[in-house]
């Protein structure tokens, strides 16, 4: 077998889906998605510096259904990447690397992401309504 034909790891199609690998993939995916959000942040700031016409464009986009959906996606991604990032920082100190704590930490991240996203949107919507 030539070296190029050798099976490579990780072999995603034969592995059973599990929390640890899904969260790992999500950390990278949300990171890439948040990078696009960083460009939106710059667009917003540059528009705010440029004046009413440019700013109206950003507002129209973010206020649309697609814009709100994307904003919701960015909120989920930010809180997830932030919480799971803390999990990574804990691992970097050499702690919680065993299987049990990996799962406890993983589910904690999922729960914290849900709670923080919900709290942020409840706060935002209640501000919008008032």
């Amino acid at each position: 077998m030539r070296s190029a034909d050798r099976p490579l790891s990780p072999h995603l199609q034969v592995y059973r889906w599990q929390l640890t690998s899904v969260l790992s993939i999500l950390h990278r995916a949300t990171g890439v998605w948040l990078s696009a959000g960083a460009i939106l942040l710059v667009w917003w700031l540059v528009a705010a510096a440029s004046g009413p016409e440019a700013y109206d464009g950003v507002e129209d986009f973010l206020g649309s259904w697609i814009g709100l959906l994307l904003l919701f996606g960015w909120t989920v991604a930010l809180f997830y990447h932030l919480c799971n990032g803390i999990r990574h920082l804990v691992w970097d100190t050499g702690h919680a690397l065993d299987l049990k704590n990996t799962y406890i930490g993983g589910w904690t991240v999922v729960a914290a992401t849900a709670v923080l996203t919900l709290a942020a949107w409840v706060a935002g919507i209640s501000r919008w309504v008032s």
């Binding site: 990171g31 990078s35 960083a38 460009i39 942040l41 700031l45 920082l89 970097d92 501000r127």
Partner: protein, 126 residues
């Protein structure tokens, strides 16, 4: 594990990998408070008009934190995207080219964002 000759002429790792790793962690730690502050600020700005947003950006604390956020964010994402590229792009030239493009774009967007914050804060455009 290394041969005496290899040790003597210093070949092996480029001895720079740890800086990338460390910078990613330091920017991550900086982004924890900065991003939480930013989310709370955006929530407080829901429904605000342009003038309110400009007044908010003009506050010294908000302007400083926004600049810090932009620096930490674009530094962190350049490092992160670089790792993604290095994992999936196996042609050396394409990999190198993409990493350079990501570095340049990150730097450019960061400068654009910082300039926007400063121009609002110092009122040069209003």
């Amino acid at each position: 594990m290394r041969s005496p000759l290899g040790r003597a002429i210093g070949l092996g790792s480029a001895k720079e990998g740890v800086e990338h790793w460390l910078a990613q962690r330091i920017t991550a730690i900086a982004l924890l408070p900065l991003s939480l502050w930013f989310v709370s600020a955006v929530i407080s700005l829901v429904g605000a008009d342009l003038e309110t947003v400009q007044n908010w950006v003009s506050q010294p604390l908000a302007a400083i934190l926004l600049v810090l956020l932009l620096i930490a964010m674009f530094y962190h994402l350049a490092l992160g995207i670089q790792v993604v590229i290095e994992d999936y792009v196996h042609t050396e030239l394409a990999r190198l080219g993409l990493v350079v493009v990501v570095r340049l774009l990150s730097f450019g967007f960061a400068v654009a964002g910082i300039f926007a914050v400063l121009s609002i804060a110092f009122g040069s455009m209003n």
